[in-house]
């Protein structure tokens, strides 16, 4: 996810050469991508574990996937291929939605991080309860 987001946000290029850059003024965006990817990497497997092993509610994984997806979508710059494809397919509606994602990129990412943090703590709390060994 981290690599994908860094490519989408044009921090890393793989063609024609593998090269990276952090343009001036985009440092905060770069940092938020790192945090978002780290949290997604933490929260998603925890909730997959909850579902697979504990056969528990699927609500939290929905939230964590949603948080990760929204955060990632905000990182897909409308200048990039994904934004371009959406604009080309959906015309002015696509352009408006991509403009919204681009204009509010930072607040959207912060919101996604907030959502993932909440899900992380509630998941940890519920795992503590659900994984507690019963005394014999």
């Amino acid at each position: 996810m981290l690599f994908g987001l860094l490519i989408l946000s044009e921090f890393i290029f793989i063609e024609p050469y593998l090269v990276g850059q952090i343009p001036k003024g985009t440092e905060l965006g770069f940092l938020l991508i790192i945090i978002l990817s780290g949290l997604s990497a933490l929260v998603l497997p925890m909730n997959v574990f909850r579902i697979n092993i504990l056969k528990n509610s699927k609500g939290k994984i929905g939230g964590s996937v949603f948080g990760s997806f929204i955060g990632a979508a905000a990182g897909a710059c409308s200048c990039g291929p994904i934004g371009f494809a959406i604009i080309s397919t959906f015309g002015s509606v696509g352009a408006t939605s991509m403009a919204f994602l681009t204009n509010y990129e930072i607040p959207i990412r912060i919101t996604a991080i907030g959502l993932l943090v909440i899900i992380y703590f509630t998941t940890v709390k519920s795992l503590k309860v659900e994984c507690k060994l019963k005394p014999e």
Binding site: F13, E15, Y17, C79, G83
Partner: protein, 221 residues
């Protein structure tokens, strides 16, 4: 005298006069475009004037949008070094072709740049737009009024500029450039095609660093 012949002759004369007048009535809107101008297999006839030496061995074709943040970053971070080391030295030149898709103001800004070209100030206006870009798309920084204000700050003839912009004179030119960009597979802004001396081409997406351009162009020279 054959009356029929006179009538036909008069009609032909009127049509001929009409055609001549239609070609000569608006001298201020005449544009000197080299319709055959191509770089590699890219038609740049409707694009910007050439920045740098037209006979330079390498041409950088940039497909860009005035509201694109990646184009802004490239303009400020990497273009100066490319200009200094390749364009100013006659090793390369640059043509900007509009891929104005990000918002409604992108189209107007692209048209305004050609209205500035009418008065010989294309690159000054182009640079001013990238120096004035704001981070939000379609938030009004490149609306019609602001575009006119930019023209005023450059000392352009405002009557000519306003009539050009308000009439939508360059709508089709910008649309042609967008279709040319899409025809060449541009799927992001900026997209670059570097055309070498033997018409070999290298195409890539994104506002990539100077080092990438240097590597490609040094291999071509």
């Amino acid at each position: 005298m054959n009356t029929k012949g006179i009538i036909v002759g008069a009609i032909v004369a009127i049509i001929a006069i009409g055609i001549i007048l239609s070609y000569s009535s608006t001298p201020s809107e005449t544009v000197n475009l080299d319709m055959g101008r191509t770089h590699g297999d890219v038609s740049t006839a409707m694009g910007s004037p050439i920045l740098g030496d037209p006979s330079a061995p390498i041409t950088i074709v940039e497909f860009g949008d005035y509201q694109c943040s990646a184009c802004y970053n490239w303009f400020h971070e990497h273009k100066p070094a490319i200009y200094e080391n390749y364009i100013a030295t006659g090793k390369a030149n640059l043509v900007f072709v509009d891929l104005a898709i990000l918002g409604r103001d992108s189209l107007t800004a692209a048209q305004a740049s050609y209205c500035a070209e009418d008065q010989g100030m294309y690159w000054e206006y182009h640079d001013l737009l990238y120096n004035s870009q704001e981070s939000k798309i379609d938030n009004g920084w490149a609306n019609s009024e602001r575009l006119k204000a930019f023209a005023f700050s450059l000392g352009l003839d405002m009557d000519l500029f306003e009539s050009c912009l308000d009439s939508g004179k360059y709508t089709k030119r910008v649309q042609y450039n967008i279709s040319e960009a899409k025809k060449h597979g541009a799927q992001a802004t900026p997209t670059f095609i570097i055309v070498g001396p033997d018409n070999q081409q290298k195409q890539f997406q994104g506002g990539q660093p100077y080092s990438v351009f240097k590597k490609i162009m040094d291999n071509m020279i």
